[in-house]
Subunit: 110 residues, 2 copies
Amino acid sequence: MAKYEALDEVFVALADSTRRAVIRRLGEGPASVSELARPFAITLPSFLKHVRVLESSGLVRTAKSGRVRMCTLDRDRLALVDGWLAEQRHAWEGRTDRLAAFVTEPKEPS
Amino acid sequence: MAKYEALDEVFVALADSTRRAVIRRLGEGPASVSELARPFAITLPSFLKHVRVLESSGLVRTAKSGRVRMCTLDRDRLALVDGWLAEQRHAWEGRTDRLAAFVTEPKEPS
C-alpha cells in the first residue's frame, strides 16, 4: 500500500470515537475482540465493523487463537500520523525561519 | 463543538490527499481558493467541496475579500491531533513504566 493511500485509511479509521477508544485500550496491550467490545453499548456485529476498519487501515492486527480473536495495535502504522504532522511543522518552521531572517536582516543604510 | 466530535471531523478532513496538500500549502501562509486549486487536475466545484470539508472541520477558515475568497490554516485545530497522539503515548509510557518496575523490582529471597 502506498504511503499516502495508507494515510487516507489511517485517518478514516481514526475518525470515530469508538475506534479511537479501541486504539487507546490496545495501547495497554493486546486484547480479545469480546474484551474490547465490552465497554460499548453496541451489538457485536456493529463492533466487528469497527474492528474491520481498524484492521484494513493496518492500525490493528488480529489473529485467531482457538475460539478467541486477539487484537494488537501496530504502533508503526500510527506513527505515520506523527510523521505527517512532523512534515507540516517542518514546512511551517522553514517559513518562520525565513520570516525571522527577513525581519532581523540588517537594512542597507539609506 | 465537543472535543471528540471535533476530532472526528478533523480526521475525516485529513483522510484525503488533496485536502492534506491544501493544509501543507496553507502552512506556508494564507492563499485564495483559486491559488489553492491550481495544482490539482479537478474542476473548481470539486475542489470547493474539499474546501468546505476543511472549513467544517475548523482546520481552515475562509473569508471573502472583494471577489476573492482567502483561506487560512487554523493550527490550533490541527494541534488537536497532536494532543490526541500525545495522550496515546502517555498511556503507552505508563504501561512501559509499570512493566519496567515489574522487571527491575528486587525479588524476595527464596
